[in-house]
Each structure stands twice: as C-alpha cells, then as structure tokens.
C-alpha cells in the first residue's frame, strides 16, 4: 500500500539483499523525508525514526526476508500501533444528560461536526441530542447551528446576546455568558427529556489565554463527559503546538480529524496522537452531515506514507 516511489527508493537501497546498519540509516532517511513531506512534525519524526531504527536493528538477524519489505513493514506497523487503537467510544452518563464539548482552532469544523455527531447519535445510538450554541462571537454562528439542527430534526438551545436568565448577576462579558449558556442548555435538556447535550464552542487560539480560560470556565460549570478536540487534517507543523495546549489545559478525551476528503497526506494525525496520547475517534470526510466515519489507523498510515 505504499506508493511506488517510496517502495522504489527502498528497492534501490536494499538491492544488495541484506539489511545492514548502513542501509538501515539510508532507508530511514527516506522514511524521514516521506513523513516530513506528509506534515508530521519535526520532533515527532525524530522520535519515530529513533524508535523504528531500534526495531530495525533488532531485526537484522531475521534471515530470508527482503530487507526493503522489512523496513516498510516495520515503519507501517509502528505507525498503526502509534495511531491506534480504533476507539469510537463516547462516555455515556447514566445520571443526567451526557455532555459532549467540542473545542478547537478557528474554522476546524466544530459546528459542522456537532451536526454530524448529533446525526450519528440519533441513528446509530438511538440518543436524543440537544445542540447548544455556545459560540457567542462569530457572526451568524447561532443561526448556523440552528440550520443544522433543523435539517436533522434535532433541537438547538441558544440565547440572544443580552438575554438574561434566572440566576445571572448581570455580567454580560462573553466569558461568563458562554459558560452560563452551556449550563442553561443542560438544564433545558433535563427539562425536555434530551439525553445528550453537545456544546458547540467558538474557535479560538491555544495561545489566547483569556479564551482558553473561557473554555476552562465552561468545563468547570458543565463537567463534560467528553471533550473532543476538532482538528483540520491539513494542519502542518503547528499541530503539535495547538493540540498540546488544548490537551494540557482541557484534558481532552479524544480527537476528531476533519476534511479528510481532501488530498492532504494528514501527518498531523500522528503529531496529534504523539503529543496528546489521545485517540482519534472519528474523521470528517465531507461537508454533509452523514460524512462522519470511524478512524482507521491502517488507512491513515498508508495515506501518510503516500
């Protein structure tokens, strides 16, 4: 499943027929190049190559196996092992509505994925979701979620800016509002028999301390059962920085990688897994709400290797 050029480079390197310390190094240089071209982060590539080298050297003794096939298999197996396992588990709360919180950088696909998750939960898990419009900043973000909810027959909870609900002390800063809208949304779910609540939050930079604190406030007030980091599959070297910050501050439960219907190699998948240790649960493969699939590490591995 590796591209001809990659396999071809190896065939040339190992045409001598034996896996030696020297051609392992040269082979790994090819692997390094492929991973960097695929957008895997520099530090992750370094560590990956070091680990693969160890297994490769350890396998020097294995007789009778074509060495280039050997290296390809070692690399591919290691990628699958690192990015796996398949894990689409969503923690369900049996005491009160299950809360799922969607977080991530601007434009990564949170709102659309909120719609996709709702459809998945209705059709595959027989749940009764409520969507909460917690993005009080982006123009027409609330409308966007309402349109998606309507198309699915799933209710959407939202509040108008400046709307006052019982219990508020008149603070209209965006910071307190997002958390309160979320808390009010969960109350609304409890009162209307909805058993899952998905909180669609505003996109933000991991280095925006005030906005990261807003997310922490939402978490404190709503105690989510699942926090999903929504990441764009075409992200480059920056994946290690943003994913790490979101995980360090939020303790995410899983990742959803979007826009995999594009032609990006998707090395960000490895970077994100490596730096957060959290599994990629689902992938987005299109704009329509039925385009949500399970994450398969083997398919991702062969895509990354190109």
């Amino acid at each position: 499943s590796l591209s001809d050029s990659f396999q071809g480079a190896f065939d040339r390197l190992f045409s001598g027929g034996k896996l030696t310390a020297q051609n392992i190094d040269e082979g790994l240089r090819e692997v390094r190049k492929a991973l960097l071209e695929a957008d895997v982060s520099v530090s992750v590539v370094k560590e990956f190559i070091a680990n693969v080298k160890e297994s490769a050297v350890g396998q020097l003794q294995v007789e009778g196996v074509d060495p280039s096939q050997q290296i390809v298999k070692i690399v591919s197996d290691e990628l699958v092992r690192l990015m796996g396992p398949i894990d689409t588990r969503i923690k369900i709360n049996n005491e009160r509505p299950t809360v799922i919180m969607m977080v991530g950088l601007q434009g990564s696909g949170k709102t659309t994925t909120t719609g996709k998750l709702a459809k998945y939960l209705v059709e595959k898990k027989k749940k009764k979701p409520l969507l909460v419009a917690a993005d009080l900043q982006r123009p027409a973000a609330i409308e966007q979620l309402h349109v998606l909810g309507e198309s699915l027959g799933v209710p959407v909870y939202s509040e108008q800016p400046g709307e006052k609900k019982k219990g508020l002390t008149g603070l209209f800063s965006r910071q307190t509002r997002a958390a309160e809208v979320c808390r009010n949304g969960i109350k609304h779910a409890e009162n209307s028999g909805r058993n899952v609540v998905i909180l669609d939050t505003a996109g933000r930079l991991h280095i925006d301390d005030e906005l990261m604190k807003e997310l922490e406030d939402v978490k404190k007030l709503t105690k989510p059962d699942n926090i999903f980091l929504v990441c764009d599959a075409m992200t480059g070297q920056d994946a290690v920085h943003s994913a790490k910050q979101f995980n360090d501050r939020m303790a995410i439960d899983g990742v959803i990688l979007t826009k995999l219907d594009g032609d990006t190699r998707g090395g960000a998948a490895l970077s994100i897994k490596a730096v957060t240790g959290k599994t990629i649960k689902f992938i987005g493969t299109g704009e329509k709400l039925d385009r949500l699939e399970e994450f398969h590490p083997e398919r991702m591995a062969s895509r990354i290797l190109g």
């Binding site: 950088l105 434009g107 900043q137 123009p139 027409a140 075409m234 480059g236 070297q237 943003s242």
Partner: protein, 278 residues
C-alpha cells in the same frame, strides 16, 4: 580575503529544523541550505555568524514586492474574487478588506456567492450591516454564478468602486466545485470584461504542505493573483508561502492577524521572515 571553509553541520542542522518547523517543506529547505553552502564556498558568506543573516536576506528578497498591492481596475468597479478551502478565513478576510476600502472612502458592494453552507449568507450579511456596506444575495441554494452575475450588474449601475465576491469553501480536489468556481469567475465578464481584476486565494497559516497543492489547483482553475495568509496571529509560521512564491510566482498580498475587521495588514516580507526565526 575569502573564507573557503564548510559551514558547521550543527549550524546547518539547526537551521534545517527551523525551516522545516516553519512549514517551508523538505524540497525548499534542502534548496535553501544548498544555496547557503554554495554561497559559503564562493565566499559570499564570510563566517558562521553571517549565515543566518544571509538566509534571512535571501528569503526577504524572494518574498517581497507585492505586499498590499491589489490590482485596481482602470475604471470602477474593481472586482475581487475570494476563494479557498473550507474554513480558511475567506468571509472574515472579506470583512477586513471591506473595512480597508471603506477607510479609503471607497464604495464597496459585497456579493454573497456562498449559497450552499448553513448561514453563510447570514454571516456575510451581518458583516455588511456592521460595516455599513451594500450586499447582493440570492436564495439559499441559488446558483452562485447567477448571484455573482447580478452583483456585477448592480456594481455597475450603483456606481460602486469595489465589488468583493465571497465564494463557498471548497476542496481543490473536488472537480465539480472547481468547475463551479471557474463559472463564477467567468460570468461577471459579460458586464465587466476584465473581471475579476484580483483573485485572492485565502490560505490558513496553520496549513502544511497541502497549501502548495491548493495554490496549484486554484490557480489552474482561475488565475490566482494574490494570497491572503489568514490566522498568522497563531503560532504557525506560514512557510508554505515560500515554495508557493518560488514555484508558482504567486505573492502574498495581505495577512490576517485576528478576527476583527481591523486585523488585516499588508504583507511585509521583513516582518514575516523575522517572525519565522523568532
């Protein structure tokens, strides 16, 4: 007298990491480092200490020349078509450009040609209201090209200086959507023969090497004349613009530095390159 030595491998190694981490890409990084070694051999670089300055100067020269320079029409309206993949920052960049033109006293008309995505027209409409500019929209699901066509007519009749056309996000490997984009770009020519005068591709600064593929595909469909590099206020360095300038000759004209209408700046090669190494 010239120093005919070899650059320390450690220096090359650490520069390589910086360039790769900035999303410059393997091929461009290798070429830049080879260029450094050659310059050192020829004596253009006299010492290890000069290596970084030489590299920065080389990059600044490569990237300069087009910051803030939009192609304006001989007589109004100037038509600017904005395209790019999903979520990269097109609509927000249009709000910023609108503010930029409004500050110059120009009369702007916006065209909501994203008739597909949920609340896309509402989003642009909100910006039009906030910025006090006119907007042409169609029905949800209307043919985006027909909305663009009507906008050109309105721009002429209404004496607008600038028409900015917002399009739906699309992945460049979707043949039907790229064909749709070609049609949107073509349809205005009936009323404004030189339209579009400027085709801006918006790139998300956090994108990796796929940005090069995006630039290739979009320019193949509708000659891209400039790039808006959005979300440069994050930690991503946006180095993909180097191979894009090198291989495709497409310059970055503006950078997006936040989510407000004022968060747009003309691209400045010096600032950009310094930011890459900071």
């Amino acid at each position: 007298k010239t120093f005919r030595g070899k650059i320390d491998e450690e220096v090359i190694g650490s520069l390589e990491e910086i360039l790769l981490a900035a999303d410059i890409g393997v091929a461009t990084t290798d070429a830049l480092l080879e260029g450094l070694k050659a310059a050192y051999r020829k004596g253009e670089i006299q010492s290890q200490a000069q290596v970084l300055d030489y590299l920065k100067a080389h990059l600044k020269e490569k990237l300069g020349g087009a910051g803030g320079k939009l192609n304006m029409a001989e007589k109004p309206p100037t038509v600017i078509l904005v395209c790019g993949v999903n979520g990269c920052g097109k609509t927000t960049s249009i709000a910023k450009l609108t503010y930029y033109f409004a500050q110059q006293g120009k009369k702007v008309l916006l065209c909501a040609s994203d008739t597909f995505r949920a609340a896309a027209v509402d989003q642009l409409n909100t910006w039009a209201d906030r910025l006090g500019v006119a907007i042409t929209r169609g029905q949800q699901g209307a043919d985006p090209a027909s909305v663009a066509h009507d906008a050109h007519e309105k721009a002429l009749k209404g004496g607008f200086d600038v028409l900015i056309v917002d399009t739906a996000g699309r992945l460049h490997n979707d043949k039907n959507l790229m064909r749709e984009l070609e049609k949107i770009a073509r349809v205005g020519k009936k009323h404004v023969p030189d339209s579009p005068h400027e085709v801006l591709l918006v790139l998300d600064a956090t994108t990796g090497q796929n940005a090069i593929r995006q630039a290739e595909a979009f320019t193949e469909a509708i000659q891209v004349t400039g790039i808006v590099l959005a979300k440069l206020d994050g930690t991503a360095k946006g180095g993909m613009i180097v191979p894009i300038r090198e291989e495709l000759g497409i310059p970055v004209k503006f950078v997006g530095l936040g989510e407000r209408p004022t968060d747009l700046a003309p691209f400045d090669a010096d600032t950009f390159v310094e930011g890459m190494f900071s």
